[in-house]
Amino acid sequence: MGSYLVRRFGLMVLTLFGISVIIFVMLRVAPGNIADILFDAAGFVDPSEKKAIMVQLGLDKPLVVQYLTWIGGLLHGDLGYSYVSDRPALAEILPRIPVTARVAGLALVFAVLIGVPLGVVSAVKQNTKLDYLLRVVSLSGLSLPAFWLGLLVLMAAVAWFGTIPIYSEAPKTFWAALGMYSIPAAVVGFRSSALMMRLTRSSMLEVMRQDYIRTARAKGASERVVNYRHALKNAVLPVITVIGLEAAFLLGGLIVTETVFNIPGVARFLIEAIRWRDYPIVQNIIMYIAIIVVLINFTVDMLYAALDPRIKYSE
């Protein structure tokens, strides 16, 4: 286990190095930089002034130096300065994280509470009308674009309540926050709950075909005990993996949902920073996402090795 952990950790660091290079290079070859955008907006270009800005932002140095400056700072918690606001990138990004984390957390709770039980029901009642209905609903959950679902919710709110439930000011009490975040969280979580449901269902069905389930039936265990004690327990492992991964993958839904509901989270900030070519913000947020994904993968692998004795963790 020890050597597996070390090896796996080494690969994780290698992966993070690789993705950091890709992020950095892709953003540097992007057409147009901040100096161009600032000067386009001003409408008048003085080459010497433009050069001064490039020097001030460190854009005149070779790419390798720029990259090393970024990574060196990253390791010390210095993320550089936002081109647009001139404030430290960390101070721009950090306060936005809790907002996104709240929506994501609520969405995940929503997804697990709805998706897993429905998946179990769907598997136990396989090929009944209920199963077909649940499968169609979950497939539609995977088919609706999150931003459209968000817009439909806004539209329904306008039609029925006459107001638009978008974020206007920071909620003051816990309950106000819960009310504010739960609608976008439900919109984001709908897709994840569909995914959880499908996964729980197929995992349950897979387990229910195993010999030990037949054995449990043969020894006279009731359907309830077979389904919930024997099958569910074994079916839950792959579901845990996806819950872990989904925490990171919720981001796709969060980016558009935060945009639609005007929530000042880190996902919407990423899109704004991309529009402004604010590299320090963009590269740090994307790197932060990569770190989370890789860490979650690592943790899930370790959990797997610890939870499932059948998995061999030596080469």
Partner: protein
């Protein structure tokens, strides 16, 4: 990796296998949801190909007097802010979704196949390098990777296809690599080698065709995801730019502010995206059940 003999399967199940149509009808009865998905996809492809024949207006022609016109007999789904016919834009938009969906799936899948096949078949340092590359490409969620690439390449139809295809590479590479690893140990590979076939030829002519079933399953499943990502990128203004009638782009123009004033601009493009993605998902499930019976739910 077992191939399925459809005729034998059908005959065993009591179907009339004499004509293609009756076989099709049999599949439709056996997989009703898949048949609905196939019908939606057929309609989608039909709309994309014959767009000029089934619309009355040009999707790009603006008309100030029709700005935000309500749905009417002349303009079934109303008009947008610039007075362009929404129905025509949705029908022509099918071309963009189809182009991006098929283009990105084929391009990303093709590169993934190349990486997966060579790393799985030849092994060694090639395999190690390929696996690290896959790890790296997978360290960002699909949508974030597509976003990064789209932001880097700039908004255009071609760049959107390239951006999404890069994000799609790892999954097909992994699927092909996994199948190749078990296939290369089989006797027919040894036999091909014994008669003096070159390694590259064996990999392409004998191993690759046997990885097709899981690839097709993956491809159909990914088609819907690809269309959804294109819509998301375009919605955010990073995908297919104006004046192309991309479904996602149509929604971004009409976002929030038209929720009150012109709901038809919000409802119909989203309905088109959802219906097509729903169709690919239904079809994808059926294709998986047919080609990969071990995963059958």
């Amino acid at each position: 990796m077992s191939t399925v003999d459809f005729r034998a399967e059908l005959a065993k199940a009591g179907a009339n296998v004499d004509s293609r149509w009756s076989a099709l009808a049999f599949f439709a009865r056996r997989y009703p949801l898949g048949a609905i998905g196939a019908a939606i996809m057929a309609l989608f492809v039909f709309a994309a190909i014959f767009a000029p024949l089934i619309t009355l207006y040009d999707p790009l022609t603006t008309n100030a007097s029709l700005s935000l016109a309500r749905p009417s007999a002349a303009h079934w789904l109303g008009c947008d802010f610039m007075g362009r016919d929404v129905y025509s834009r949705i029908v022509y938009g099918a071309r963009i979704s189809l182009a991006v969906g098929i283009g990105a799936t084929l391009l990303g899948g093709g590169i993934g196949v190349l990486i997966g096949l060579s790393s799985g078949y030849f092994g060694g340092w090639l395999d190690l390098a390929a696996q690290r590359l896959i790890d790296i490409l997978q360290s960002l969620p699909l949508i974030v990777m597509a976003l990064l690439m789209a932001a880097s390449l700039g908004p255009s139809l071609h760049n959107t296809i390239i951006a999404i295809s890069i994000a799609l590479i790892p999954s097909s590479a992994r699927v092909v690599r996994a199948s190749t690893l078990s296939l290369r140990e089989l006797q027919f590979v040894e036999a091909a080698r014994a008669i003096g076939m070159s390694e590259v030829r064996i990999a392409v002519r004998h191993v690759l065709p046997n990885t097709l079933a899981p690839l097709i399953v993956l491809g159909t499943a990914q088609l819907g995801a690809t269309i959804l990502i294109e819509a998301t990128l375009s919605f955010l203004g990073l995908g297919v730019p104006e004046p192309h009638p991309s479904w996602g782009r149509m929604l971004s123009e009409s976002a929030a502010e038209y929720v009150r004033t012109a709901p038809w601009l919000v409802i119909f493009p989203g309905l088109a995206i959802s219906a097509v993605v729903f169709g690919t998902n239904l079809l994808g499930d059926a294709v998986r059940d047919i080609l990969d019976p071990r995963q059958r739910g």
